[in-house]
Amino acid sequence: MFRIEWPRLVATLTGRYRDLNLAEEAASEAVLEAVSAWGEGLPANPGGWLMTTANRKAIDRLRRESRRDAKYAEAVVGASVPEPTHRVEDDQLRLIFMCCHRALAPEVRLALTLRMVSGLTVEEIARGLLVSEAAIGQRITRAKTKIRGAKIPFAVPENLEERLADVLAVIYVVFNEGYLPGGASELRVDLSDEAIRLSRLVHALMPGELEAQGLLALVLLTDARRAARVDEAGELVTLDAQDRSLWNAAQLAEGHALVRACVASNRPGPYQLQAAINAVHTSAPHFQLTDWAALYTLYDQLYALQPQPIVALNRAVVTAELRGPEVSLAEIDDLPLSNYHAFHAARAELLRRVGRIDEARAAYTRAIELASNVAEVRHLTRRLGDLGVDA
């Protein structure tokens, strides 16, 4: 309940008082008061109770602060509190755009969004991102200072499409932090869940934005494979070896429906295409029945929008299934990805298939050096072992 209500309080209070610190503290005080006051039973309208209490806390704080500074005392105490003239959801959307503003460094956007929009504590964010609490606290403080000092607006921007891409990028980073974390854990479920929640929120707030819909579909379809992706020994299981009965059928159904709706709208964007790629993968009852031709077309479309070497690498993996590993190897050999573990992992696999075992061994070794996710390292190490000892 508080997990959902706290961010809504913060959004509304920020809209009203244009002060993130005040909003954060008043919302937290209201939740604390609720915890003790609700011991005897929930009020009739808990959300309304919290909002009224948080607003009172905010006004108390403003009065206390203004007493210290007589100059502002009259202005603040005398001012009537503006009544909300719009939905909480509008404030939430404004808050999201403020937290994901391009004038803030990407890692700052991430921390601020998780704090203000998701309502995670600094400690939870630090644990999720494997960064010290002090560093997360500092990022959030710096962000608040800049928002106030430089007047980063609490508004839905005019150049919506560009700025929405920034918001979606933040959410996708949160998802990937959960899905492919560094450090000791194979998966960090809480961050993946949080990214799904944020994607749902943005999609609900902007139902007409197809890229937001695409991102929701993408994270649902990727996350649906979670249970099959790591085995009991904590080793990554690649798509060809996954037990597809472990996939989350409800999430797949929801993701597939979202992708179909995107396709029907026919305005493809990067997230929609990546979602469609995942939809093709998850539509196949067996790996051998994957529609590789459809995948190749989708990767081609994605490459046209995002001509990046990583997209070319993924497309080349599809080429291997369509036209064989030799052709695929030729496609990836010149890609400038020598510091990317997945490049060496993909190359190793292709080299193994064409029988260039010594080179495959070197490529696996390089991939292991570069990979940071433990499940992936275990998987690559086993593949390397499967090649047998150097003859």
Binding site: H101, R102, A103, G149, A150, K151, I152, P153, A155, P157, E158
Partner: protein, 123 residues
């Protein structure tokens, strides 16, 4: 409304080039075009009510640092910061928020052909 400093940084020879050189620009033509574009940008700032002040500076080597905190003032030849790049020119603008300031800075950057730092004034 808030005020923002939009500043352009560069090396000394960018802003105060020796004869026959055009600073940050490859040719005289480019330099003249940038100057004209910057003038047009200033006019737009004035017309839209954003303009507070703008100016270009002489080279940092023409600066003098004055320390009046002691009993007698101390004068030092040269700029305050020891760096390779200095403030070379700036605008002070009025804008409703950072989004508006960033948009104007983008225009300014395009006009003068350099990177622009946007920094809010206090208060």
């Amino acid at each position: 409304m808030a005020q923002y400093l939009l500043s352009v940084h560069g090396t000394d020879s960018d802003f105060d080039p020796p004869a026959g050189k055009f600073g940050a620009y490859a040719t005289e033509q480019e330099a003249l075009a940038a100057m004209a574009a910057t003038g047009a940008f200033n006019d737009r700032l004035i017309a839209r009510g954003h303009f507070v002040f703008a100016g270009g500076l002489r080279s940092a080597s023409s600066a003098t640092v004055v320390d009046g905190t002691g009993e007698r003032p101390v004068f030092t030849d040269g700029p305050y910061l020891e760096t390779k790049e200095w403030l070379g020119g700036f605008w002070i603008i009025d804008a409703p928020d950072l989004d508006a300031a960033l948009e104007l800075a983008t225009e300014g950057s395009r006009a003068c052909g350099g990177k622009v730092e946007v920094r809010p004034f206090a208060g």
